[in-house]
Protein backbone atom coordinates (compact mmCIF):
# COMPACT_ATOMS: atom_id res chain seq x y z
CA UNK A 1 0.00 0.00 0.00
CA UNK A 2 1.12 3.52 -0.77
CA UNK A 3 -0.24 6.87 0.33
CA UNK A 4 -1.39 9.23 -2.40
CA UNK A 5 -2.12 12.87 -1.74
CA UNK A 6 -4.61 14.69 -3.91
CA UNK A 7 -5.94 18.19 -4.26
CA UNK A 8 -9.52 18.66 -5.36
CA UNK A 9 -10.62 22.03 -6.64
CA UNK A 10 -14.39 22.56 -6.46
CA UNK A 11 -15.90 25.52 -8.31
CA UNK A 12 -19.40 26.76 -9.02
CA UNK A 13 -20.50 25.98 -12.57
CA UNK A 14 -19.89 28.81 -15.03
CA UNK A 15 -22.95 30.96 -15.45
CA UNK A 16 -24.25 30.23 -11.97
CA UNK A 17 -24.34 33.37 -9.88
CA UNK A 18 -21.59 33.26 -7.24
CA UNK A 19 -22.73 35.49 -4.38
CA UNK A 20 -19.50 34.94 -2.45
CA UNK A 21 -17.46 35.99 -5.45
CA UNK A 22 -19.73 38.99 -5.85
CA UNK A 23 -19.29 40.00 -2.20
CA UNK A 24 -15.51 39.71 -2.43
CA UNK A 25 -15.49 41.64 -5.71
CA UNK A 26 -17.58 44.36 -4.11
CA UNK A 27 -15.05 44.82 -1.32
CA UNK A 28 -11.99 45.20 -3.53
CA UNK A 29 -12.49 48.75 -4.91
CA UNK A 30 -12.49 50.14 -1.36
CA UNK A 31 -8.96 48.77 -1.02
CA UNK A 32 -7.84 50.42 -4.22
CA UNK A 33 -8.24 47.36 -6.46
CA UNK A 34 -10.73 48.95 -8.80
CA UNK A 35 -9.95 47.04 -11.99
CA UNK A 36 -10.94 43.57 -10.83
CA UNK A 37 -13.73 41.52 -12.43
CA UNK A 38 -15.06 37.96 -12.53
CA UNK A 39 -14.20 36.98 -8.95
CA UNK A 40 -15.30 33.41 -8.25
CA UNK A 41 -14.87 31.65 -4.91
CA UNK A 42 -14.35 27.89 -4.83
CA UNK A 43 -13.12 25.23 -2.45
CA UNK A 44 -9.78 23.55 -2.16
CA UNK A 45 -9.77 20.11 -0.55
CA UNK A 46 -6.59 18.18 0.15
CA UNK A 47 -6.59 14.56 1.24
CA UNK A 48 -4.42 11.49 1.45
CA UNK A 49 -5.71 8.04 0.54
CA UNK A 50 -4.00 4.69 1.01
CA UNK A 51 -4.33 2.39 -1.96
CA UNK A 52 -2.55 -0.43 -3.76
CA UNK A 53 -1.77 1.72 -6.77
CA UNK A 54 -2.34 5.10 -8.33
CA UNK A 55 -5.24 4.01 -10.51
CA UNK A 56 -7.18 2.72 -7.52
CA UNK A 57 -6.43 5.86 -5.48
CA UNK A 58 -7.54 8.12 -8.32
CA UNK A 59 -10.72 6.13 -8.82
CA UNK A 60 -11.58 6.47 -5.13
CA UNK A 61 -10.98 10.22 -5.12
CA UNK A 62 -13.05 10.63 -8.27
CA UNK A 63 -15.93 8.80 -6.60
CA UNK A 64 -15.61 10.92 -3.43
CA UNK A 65 -15.58 14.08 -5.52
CA UNK A 66 -18.69 13.00 -7.42
CA UNK A 67 -20.68 11.70 -4.47
CA UNK A 68 -19.92 14.13 -1.68
CA UNK A 69 -17.10 16.63 -2.18
CA UNK A 70 -19.02 18.39 -4.95
CA UNK A 71 -22.68 18.72 -5.86
CA UNK A 72 -23.01 18.00 -9.60
CA UNK A 73 -26.10 20.22 -9.83
CA UNK A 74 -24.12 23.38 -9.08
CA UNK A 75 -20.42 22.52 -9.04
CA UNK A 76 -17.54 21.19 -11.16
CA UNK A 77 -14.36 19.65 -9.79
CA UNK A 78 -10.78 19.06 -10.85
CA UNK A 79 -8.51 16.48 -9.26
CA UNK A 80 -4.76 16.63 -9.19
CA UNK A 81 -2.33 14.28 -7.50
CA UNK A 82 0.34 16.14 -5.60
CA UNK A 83 2.37 13.48 -3.80
CA UNK A 84 2.94 9.78 -3.27
CA UNK A 85 4.74 8.29 -0.29
Amino acid sequence: MSAFTFEILVSLKPGLLDPQGKAVEGSLPAMGFDRVADVRVGKHIRLTVEAADEASATAQVREMATRVLSNPVIEDFEISQVAMT
Binding site: L17, P19, K22, K43, N71, V73
Partner: protein, 236 residues
Amino acid sequence: MSQPRIGVVTFPGSLDDGDALRAVSTMGGEGVALWHADHELRDVDAVILPGGFSYGDYLRCGAIAARAPIMAEVAGFASRGGPVLGICNGFQILCEAGLLPGALIRNRSLRFVCDDVWLRIETAQTCVTNGLTPGETIEIPVKHGEGQWVATADQLERVEGEGLVVFRYSARDGRLEDAYNPNGATNHVAGIRNDAGNVVGLMPHPEHAVDPDVGPTGGQPLFASLLATALAEVGA
Protein backbone atom coordinates in the same frame (compact mmCIF):
# COMPACT_ATOMS: atom_id res chain seq x y z
CA MET B 1 -58.85 7.70 17.74
CA SER B 2 -55.26 6.69 17.16
CA GLN B 3 -52.64 9.38 16.73
CA PRO B 4 -50.18 9.33 13.83
CA ARG B 5 -46.56 9.08 14.96
CA ILE B 6 -44.46 11.77 13.29
CA GLY B 7 -40.70 11.40 13.59
CA VAL B 8 -38.47 14.48 13.74
CA VAL B 9 -34.78 13.87 13.07
CA THR B 10 -32.24 15.78 15.15
CA PHE B 11 -28.84 16.29 13.52
CA PRO B 12 -25.94 18.05 15.24
CA GLY B 13 -26.84 21.68 14.57
CA SER B 14 -30.58 21.21 14.04
CA LEU B 15 -32.48 24.20 15.46
CA ASP B 16 -36.13 23.69 14.71
CA ASP B 17 -36.58 20.10 15.82
CA GLY B 18 -38.23 21.29 19.04
CA ASP B 19 -40.70 23.52 17.20
CA ALA B 20 -41.47 20.74 14.72
CA LEU B 21 -42.26 18.30 17.56
CA ARG B 22 -44.39 20.96 19.21
CA ALA B 23 -46.26 21.72 15.98
CA VAL B 24 -47.01 18.00 15.56
CA SER B 25 -48.52 17.73 19.03
CA THR B 26 -50.37 21.07 18.68
CA MET B 27 -51.98 19.68 15.53
CA GLY B 28 -52.96 16.40 17.21
CA GLY B 29 -50.13 14.02 16.36
CA GLU B 30 -47.54 12.27 18.47
CA GLY B 31 -44.05 13.69 17.94
CA VAL B 32 -41.26 11.11 18.03
CA ALA B 33 -37.67 12.32 18.41
CA LEU B 34 -35.27 10.56 16.03
CA TRP B 35 -31.46 10.74 16.12
CA HIS B 36 -29.16 11.20 13.12
CA ALA B 37 -26.74 8.44 14.16
CA ASP B 38 -29.44 5.80 14.58
CA HIS B 39 -30.43 3.23 12.01
CA GLU B 40 -34.09 3.07 12.96
CA LEU B 41 -37.19 5.16 12.47
CA ARG B 42 -39.05 3.77 15.52
CA ASP B 43 -42.12 2.79 13.50
CA VAL B 44 -43.14 6.35 12.69
CA ASP B 45 -45.81 7.09 10.09
CA ALA B 46 -44.07 10.17 8.67
CA VAL B 47 -40.65 11.81 8.96
CA ILE B 48 -39.77 15.50 9.26
CA LEU B 49 -36.23 16.76 8.60
CA PRO B 50 -36.19 20.07 10.49
CA GLY B 51 -34.44 23.36 9.91
CA GLY B 52 -31.11 24.45 11.30
CA PHE B 53 -27.46 24.28 10.37
CA SER B 54 -26.69 20.57 10.46
CA TYR B 55 -22.97 19.88 10.87
CA GLY B 56 -22.42 23.64 10.76
CA ASP B 57 -23.36 23.67 7.05
CA TYR B 58 -19.79 22.50 6.44
CA LEU B 59 -18.91 21.63 2.82
CA ARG B 60 -22.42 22.59 1.59
CA CYS B 61 -25.75 23.06 3.37
CA GLY B 62 -27.14 19.62 4.16
CA ALA B 63 -24.24 17.79 2.48
CA ILE B 64 -22.96 15.95 5.54
CA ALA B 65 -26.41 15.33 7.02
CA ALA B 66 -27.53 13.76 3.73
CA ARG B 67 -24.93 11.03 4.34
CA ALA B 68 -25.80 10.48 8.03
CA PRO B 69 -26.73 6.92 9.07
CA ILE B 70 -30.44 7.65 9.53
CA MET B 71 -30.74 8.98 5.98
CA ALA B 72 -30.44 5.45 4.56
CA GLU B 73 -33.54 4.59 6.60
CA VAL B 74 -35.31 7.78 5.48
CA ALA B 75 -34.54 6.98 1.82
CA GLY B 76 -35.93 3.46 2.26
CA PHE B 77 -39.03 4.80 4.01
CA ALA B 78 -39.54 7.32 1.18
CA SER B 79 -39.16 4.67 -1.51
CA ARG B 80 -41.91 2.65 0.18
CA GLY B 81 -44.19 5.68 -0.07
CA GLY B 82 -43.74 7.00 3.47
CA PRO B 83 -44.40 10.73 3.87
CA VAL B 84 -41.23 12.80 4.31
CA LEU B 85 -41.20 16.57 4.83
CA GLY B 86 -37.96 18.57 4.70
CA ILE B 87 -38.11 22.10 6.07
CA CYS B 88 -35.38 24.66 5.28
CA ASN B 89 -32.16 22.79 6.14
CA GLY B 90 -34.28 19.63 5.79
CA PHE B 91 -35.09 20.67 2.20
CA GLN B 92 -31.37 21.19 1.55
CA ILE B 93 -30.69 17.72 2.99
CA LEU B 94 -33.33 16.10 0.72
CA CYS B 95 -31.76 17.75 -2.35
CA GLU B 96 -28.27 16.70 -1.27
CA ALA B 97 -29.52 13.16 -0.68
CA GLY B 98 -30.89 13.04 -4.22
CA LEU B 99 -34.46 12.55 -2.94
CA LEU B 100 -35.51 15.85 -4.54
CA PRO B 101 -34.12 17.56 -7.65
CA GLY B 102 -32.07 20.76 -7.63
CA ALA B 103 -29.95 22.48 -5.02
CA LEU B 104 -30.13 25.46 -2.65
CA ILE B 105 -27.52 28.19 -2.94
CA ARG B 106 -26.88 31.55 -1.26
CA ASN B 107 -29.70 34.09 -1.52
CA ARG B 108 -29.40 36.35 -4.54
CA SER B 109 -29.36 39.39 -2.22
CA LEU B 110 -26.42 37.90 -0.29
CA ARG B 111 -28.46 38.65 2.85
CA PHE B 112 -30.06 36.39 5.40
CA VAL B 113 -33.83 36.87 5.14
CA CYS B 114 -36.24 36.62 8.06
CA ASP B 115 -39.79 37.55 7.14
CA ASP B 116 -43.35 36.35 6.77
CA VAL B 117 -44.07 35.44 3.14
CA TRP B 118 -47.03 34.26 1.08
CA LEU B 119 -46.89 30.98 -0.77
CA ARG B 120 -49.12 29.94 -3.66
CA ILE B 121 -50.10 26.28 -3.61
CA GLU B 122 -49.29 24.72 -7.00
CA THR B 123 -50.50 21.16 -6.47
CA ALA B 124 -52.62 19.23 -4.02
CA GLN B 125 -50.93 15.95 -5.01
CA THR B 126 -48.57 15.81 -2.02
CA CYS B 127 -48.52 14.59 1.56
CA VAL B 128 -48.63 18.18 2.88
CA THR B 129 -51.00 19.92 0.46
CA ASN B 130 -53.72 17.32 -0.09
CA GLY B 131 -56.06 19.38 2.07
CA LEU B 132 -55.46 22.54 0.03
CA THR B 133 -56.54 23.82 -3.37
CA PRO B 134 -54.08 24.89 -6.09
CA GLY B 135 -54.08 28.67 -6.40
CA GLU B 136 -54.79 29.14 -2.70
CA THR B 137 -52.20 31.16 -0.73
CA ILE B 138 -50.86 30.67 2.80
CA GLU B 139 -48.67 32.89 4.98
CA ILE B 140 -45.68 31.43 6.79
CA PRO B 141 -42.20 32.70 7.76
CA VAL B 142 -38.87 32.24 6.01
CA LYS B 143 -35.48 32.53 7.72
CA HIS B 144 -32.49 31.47 5.69
CA GLY B 145 -29.26 32.62 4.05
CA GLU B 146 -29.08 29.88 1.44
CA GLY B 147 -32.54 29.34 0.06
CA GLN B 148 -32.21 30.12 -3.62
CA TRP B 149 -33.41 26.98 -5.37
CA VAL B 150 -31.60 26.24 -8.63
CA ALA B 151 -31.54 23.25 -10.95
CA THR B 152 -29.88 22.03 -14.11
CA ALA B 153 -31.75 22.81 -17.35
CA ASP B 154 -32.88 19.18 -17.60
CA GLN B 155 -34.07 19.09 -14.01
CA LEU B 156 -35.94 22.37 -14.39
CA GLU B 157 -37.71 21.15 -17.48
CA ARG B 158 -38.79 17.99 -15.70
CA VAL B 159 -39.80 19.78 -12.49
CA GLU B 160 -42.00 22.26 -14.36
CA GLY B 161 -43.19 19.79 -17.00
CA GLU B 162 -44.34 17.21 -14.47
CA GLY B 163 -45.81 19.61 -11.97
CA LEU B 164 -43.29 18.98 -9.21
CA VAL B 165 -43.40 22.56 -7.90
CA VAL B 166 -45.53 22.57 -4.73
CA PHE B 167 -45.14 26.15 -3.49
CA ARG B 168 -44.16 29.44 -5.14
CA TYR B 169 -43.39 32.72 -3.39
CA SER B 170 -46.20 35.08 -4.37
CA ALA B 171 -48.25 38.09 -3.41
CA ARG B 172 -51.17 37.48 -1.07
CA ASP B 173 -53.44 37.23 -4.12
CA GLY B 174 -51.15 34.71 -5.82
CA ARG B 175 -49.41 37.07 -8.25
CA LEU B 176 -45.80 36.15 -9.01
CA GLU B 177 -43.43 39.11 -8.93
CA ASP B 178 -39.75 39.45 -8.17
CA ALA B 179 -40.58 41.65 -5.18
CA TYR B 180 -42.18 38.66 -3.46
CA ASN B 181 -39.29 36.28 -4.09
CA PRO B 182 -37.12 36.54 -0.95
CA ASN B 183 -34.07 34.68 -2.24
CA GLY B 184 -34.12 34.84 -6.04
CA ALA B 185 -35.22 31.22 -6.42
CA THR B 186 -35.63 30.00 -10.00
CA ASN B 187 -39.27 30.44 -11.12
CA HIS B 188 -40.16 31.62 -7.57
CA VAL B 189 -39.87 28.04 -6.32
CA ALA B 190 -40.31 27.76 -2.54
CA GLY B 191 -40.87 24.02 -2.38
CA ILE B 192 -40.97 20.91 -4.56
CA ARG B 193 -42.03 17.27 -4.40
CA ASN B 194 -40.86 13.94 -5.77
CA ASP B 195 -42.80 12.14 -8.52
CA ALA B 196 -45.02 10.26 -6.08
CA GLY B 197 -45.72 13.33 -3.94
CA ASN B 198 -44.76 11.63 -0.68
CA VAL B 199 -41.50 13.56 -0.37
CA VAL B 200 -41.76 17.35 -0.09
CA GLY B 201 -39.18 20.00 0.71
CA LEU B 202 -39.66 23.72 1.26
CA MET B 203 -37.57 26.62 2.54
CA PRO B 204 -40.30 28.39 4.58
CA HIS B 205 -41.17 27.16 8.08
CA PRO B 206 -44.67 25.74 8.58
CA GLU B 207 -43.67 24.55 12.07
CA HIS B 208 -43.32 28.20 13.14
CA ALA B 209 -46.80 28.97 11.83
CA VAL B 210 -49.29 26.85 13.74
CA ASP B 211 -49.81 28.97 16.88
CA PRO B 212 -51.85 32.17 16.37
CA ASP B 213 -50.18 33.69 19.46
CA VAL B 214 -46.85 34.00 17.69
CA GLY B 215 -47.65 34.92 14.09
CA PRO B 216 -49.30 33.65 10.93
CA THR B 217 -50.95 30.23 10.93
CA GLY B 218 -50.30 29.11 7.35
CA GLY B 219 -48.49 26.03 8.64
CA GLN B 220 -51.67 24.55 10.09
CA PRO B 221 -53.16 23.15 6.85
CA LEU B 222 -49.77 21.64 5.91
CA PHE B 223 -49.48 19.82 9.22
CA ALA B 224 -53.15 18.83 9.04
CA SER B 225 -52.51 17.24 5.62
CA LEU B 226 -49.32 15.54 6.81
CA LEU B 227 -51.06 14.12 9.88
CA ALA B 228 -54.02 12.92 7.83
CA THR B 229 -51.68 11.25 5.32
CA ALA B 230 -49.73 9.65 8.14
CA LEU B 231 -52.92 8.46 9.81
CA ALA B 232 -53.95 6.78 6.56
CA GLU B 233 -50.60 4.94 6.75
CA VAL B 234 -51.53 3.73 10.24
CA GLY B 235 -54.79 2.37 8.93
CA ALA B 236 -53.12 0.76 5.92
